[in-house]
Symmetry: C2
Subunit: 463 residues, 2 copies
């Protein structure tokens, strides 16, 4: 949407020549665009640039989630006094993100320089992992006792709202116990009578909330299902300890999506952008799974070894090995991607496995018959036109390939659809059932099916 | 989060016995939960239930995006008068969703019964495909002339805001041309002086907007990047024709995510949930790609045929065919999933292809050396312990397998990373570069690499 990248040489030139002129040029930009520019600059230049930005804009820029992996490098090039003021002014969820990434030496040093309120909020947030509700929540929310009137509430928002992440949801507390009893939207306040008490605005229902350790994907699901702008994080005692806003959820959704896509490709999730990860970091994320799959795939050599006699007698059988096992892998990959996604969307749960099995069996059979027919026709055509000679028993060879395809594709669909359930049942992430994982699983079995079918059909002729 | 599914028998019983009692029981529920229940009921029961729900709740329920695929079936079981009132009250983006799914006979019949304003808004929305900004926008937004004061604006929101999808963003228009000149948030209005003119509230910048035909994924990117609650859709003349809100964007993100996951699994995107699609619909989505991949994979039989002589002389070579080609496919699948995702997140653009190539070449080589070493060690161990006899030339066989793995894995990484760029360059969706697609591509080349390496190393000994 913006062409900040093209402005980089210009930025660097201005930064060198006249930092204050640069700051003036940038002050008209949106925070997200300045953040884009910072990601393109070397860290020392970014640090200098942050130091000359108008303070409010600098805070907004540092609040951008897109800057997550860069903040530590940037503050390493900023003067200490500027840093602590900046951090104090950031939203609490981003403060926690930053401290999670700081080195163990930098953390206590920087923490000491912060405002006591910030220190306390950080101590709370850092207790929770980054993929939980409390790990992505902010502690800056608006809460009021149920006995306040709408007029009092609106006045209070005008007084303290500037420092809050959102003023569009007001968390209404029991005046005595301070427990969450109701949630009122600013929209409802706008339409309510000035003298109504908050507890009586809108429909009174048990408020939607999440627990501190709720997985961020489930938080996203609640916000998306009920079309919320924010959801409160409530502890065991019924007290609101923070809120997760819809923009944090979008970031979480995009991150999860990236992780799942990479896992399905057969590797560990990268955690940082492809363009940013170092060479050995990349090798580390890929070599592990690749080697594990390779070790599994070695069983194909063992399986093939068992049928070495058959291959020697009928080399023609070997020709179709890649075709047959890959068809099993492909049908398995389809089934796996379908089931992983349906599980992630909660369209399916663990107990639906047998319904899926009953569905994939006829589906696999049908797909197998389609491919098997194509395979048989292929062999017959090649033989008739003299493009290849499969020997005098070419009809039996074609039959073998056709029947093996039906068996292998059916097995592929079944194995591919059951693997995510199995992984989930064993407590693993179903998304680990990658396309290569399924292919490996199906390859070994596919070989056995193929050679068993061949033995049955070709015994007495070729074998 | 809720256990509506368990309540279904109870719901059906109440619906049969006393519909009004049922309506009372449901009126305390949230719309999203009632929608969940409707999805589990047979369409005729859902239709009856909708008819007895309090009208406001019925509208909210029908506005739930989760009900998208069910609306047509449900209204087929509702009285015509109730339907038109319900549709008139729905938000305009959902009205358009519904009409897109209606049959060609039902569409004009229902359209005639609607309010003229609704008819006009539908005529506009239905001009655009469902995956564009205008296809997912709503026409119910708040706009005001720049000359109004904050006090006038707040009063206007109280007067007309109830009918609008969101009142948190106010679109400020030039009083003469009616063009969009500014966007003010309700939050800014809360903190502004009552007498300030809207044009002077907040910072004056060119407002962020999208064009009617902007892809919904790009709309999601703008909303997520700038942390917006809504983005205006502006036509060529500079007029706001609708807005896309953040909750629509979340739904769009989840849909795109599902489509991409299914495509990467090697099939067409399903469009409807796995649990809802019919048997032949499912076959249709899967058989096409599976057959296309099968036809491509047939080239492996041709390639193997070219080396039939080599296999006859050294059957031991056939044993490692699945191991070697699958390793290429796996490394290719990793690279493809990385690049598809980086392209989707705009971390990479088309012109970065050579940077990726320069990166994947050493990565592929390193991964190839890792797998090659494991492969060589595997053969030497099996031979030394007498678990398998690879013949007197087992050292040369091991060397062949090792070198072939380096070549095949390097080729796999390169092909896997370049394919998404190539597809994008040719105008296809890079997400079509599925794991099975890459595997097929790499299998044929992998075989040729393997047998060429074997010919070079084993000539004079085995071959």
């Amino acid at each position: 949407m913006s062409n900040t990248v093209q402005q980089i040489p210009e930025l660097l030139y201005l930064l060198h020549k006249d930092p204050s002129e640069l700051a003036a040029a940038l002050s008209g930009m949106r925070a997200a665009d300045v953040a884009d520019a910072l990601r393109q600059l070397p860290p020392d230049a970014s640090g200098k640039l942050m130091a000359v930005l108008p303070f409010d804009l600098a805070v907004e820029v540092f609040d951008e989630p897109e800057l997550a992996e860069y903040r530590c490098d940037i503050i390493a090039h900023m003067p200490d006094g500027t840093i602590s003021a900046l951090i104090d002014a950031m939203s609490s969820d981003r403060q926690a993100d930053l401290f999670r990434e700081l080195s163990h030496e930098a953390r206590p040093r920087l923490l000491k320089q912060l405002d006591p309120v910030t220190q306390e909020s950080l101590a709370l947030l850092l207790k929770f992992p980054a993929d939980t509700a409390a790990g992505i929540m902010t502690t800056e929310f608006v809460s009021m006792p149920a006995t306040w009137t709408v007029a009092q509430a609106l006045q209070n928002i005008r007084d303290v709202g500037r420092a809050k992440e959102t003023v569009y949801a007001i968390y209404v507390l029991d005046p005595a116990s301070q427990k969450l009893v109701h949630v009122v939207s600013l929209r409802q306040l706008m339409f309510a009578e000035q003298t109504t008490q908050l507890g009586d605005v809108g429909e009174r229902r048990v408020p939607l909330s999440v627990a501190p350790r709720t997985d961020r994907e489930d938080v996203a699901r609640v916000i998306s299902k009920y079309n919320l702008l924010a959801v409160p994080v409530v502890d065991d005692g019924g007290h609101v300890i923070g809120i997760v806003t819809v923009d944090d959820v979008i970031d979480a959704l995009v991150r999860e999506q990236t992780e799942d896509a990479q896992k399905f490709g057969g590797m560990e999730a990268l955690d940082i952008p492809y363009t940013q990860i170092g060479f050995w970091g990349m090798i580390g994320k890929r070599a592990g799974w690749l080697t594990a799959l390779f070790l599994g795939e070695m069983l194909t050599a063992t399986a093939m070894g068992k049928f070495e006699g058959e291959i020697e007698k009928a080399v023609v059988l070997a020709l179709f090995v890649p075709l047959i096992i890959s068809s099993g892998g492909n049908s398995g990959s389809q089934a796996t991607s379908l089931i992983i996604r349906a599980l992630a969307l909660r369209e399916l749960t663990l107990k639906d496995w047998w319904r899926v099995a009953l569905r994939e069996l006829p589906t696999g059979l049908t797909l197998g018959v389609v491919l098997g027919s194509v395979g048989v026709i292929r062999i017959l055509i090649w033989q008739s036109f003299g493009w290849y000679d499969y020997g005098v028993n070419f009809r039996l060879v074609a039959l073998t390939v056709g029947c093996a395809l039906v068996g292998v594709v059916t097995f592929g669909s079944m194995a591919g659809s059951m693997l995510p359930f199995l992984l989930k049942r064993l407590g693993f992430d179903p998304a680990s059932a990658s396309a290569p994982f399924v292919a490996t699983l199906v390859d070994v079995t596919g070989l056995i099916i193929y050679f068993e079918v061949a033995t049955a059909i070709l015994r007495g002729s070729l074998l």
